[in-house]
């Protein structure tokens, strides 16, 4: 079977999707399984140094990896769909599986930009101001709490998201 130009496009997108996805979800697990419990054991002055340095940098890769993952995934899906390269009614469970994975991932992406980053950038800015002597704003704890709920939610959503994404290709039922 001849390899066509579009096949290179597909494999490029698929590789990008998986690579960026590993970066995104890897950092999500780092935040939830490593950073949050470690920060609970640190004193305030240490955290105030780490937030503008470590957390800010980790969040940069986290949120942009989410963008690349979602863009590559949907570009792949919509291109292949428009080319008629997949999707027919006889493969209904496959479509349900891949779309459930895709939409759960999109929900997680919206959580990253709509809640986690939106609130964490306020925390980072306030911490930077704190180091210059400005008192912490009263809403700082609330911002952190809202970001944490969305982050925990994304950890929980990552399990079915990965199941449906991989099941679409690897579970015979689908």
């Amino acid at each position: 079977m001849a390899v066509e130009a579009i096949d290179y496009f597909y494999i490029g997108l698929r590789w990008t999707h998986v690579f960026a996805g590993i970066t995104w979800i890897g950092l999500l697990y780092y935040f939830n399984f490593v950073q949050v419990p470690t920060f609970k054991e640190l004193d305030a002055s240490t955290k105030n140094v780490l937030v503008p340095k470590l957390v800010k940098r980790a969040l940069f890769w986290f949120r942009w990896a989410a963008v690349v993952t979602v863009l590559a995934g949907w570009t792949y899906f919509l291109t292949a769909w428009s080319q008629g390269d997949f999707y027919d009614v006889s493969r209904r469970w496959w479509a349900v599986s891949i779309l459930t994975g895709g939409f759960l991932g999109t929900f997680m992406f919206l959580n990253v930009w709509g809640v986690i980053w939106r609130q964490q950038k306020k925390v980072i800015r306030a911490t930077e101001e704190l180091l210059k002597g400005t008192p912490a704003p009263p809403d700082m704890a609330r911002w952190g709490k809202q970001a944490l709920i969305a982050s925990r939610m994304n950890v929980a959503l990552s399990l079915p998201m990965l199941f449906f994404m991989t099941a679409a290709s690897h579970l015979p039922l689908f």
Partner: protein
């Protein structure tokens, strides 16, 4: 160690979202119409409105 309140809330919302998404996407594929997608959209907006009110 007991689960923190934020963990319970996050996991609870995730469970609701997963059920809503599977049902809506199944309906979308089964009836070949994008109309059921409005339900996941409303679920996200509902979560966003709720989480913004968390104190």
């Amino acid at each position: 160690m007991p689960w923190a309140k934020e963990t319970k809330l996050g996991f609870g919302w995730a469970a609701v979202v997963v059920v809503i998404f599977i049902g809506s996407i199944w309906a979308m594929v089964r009836y070949t119409t994008p109309a059921p997608l409005i339900i996941p959209v409303l679920a996200y907006l509902g979560f966003l409105a709720w989480v913004n009110r968390v104190k």
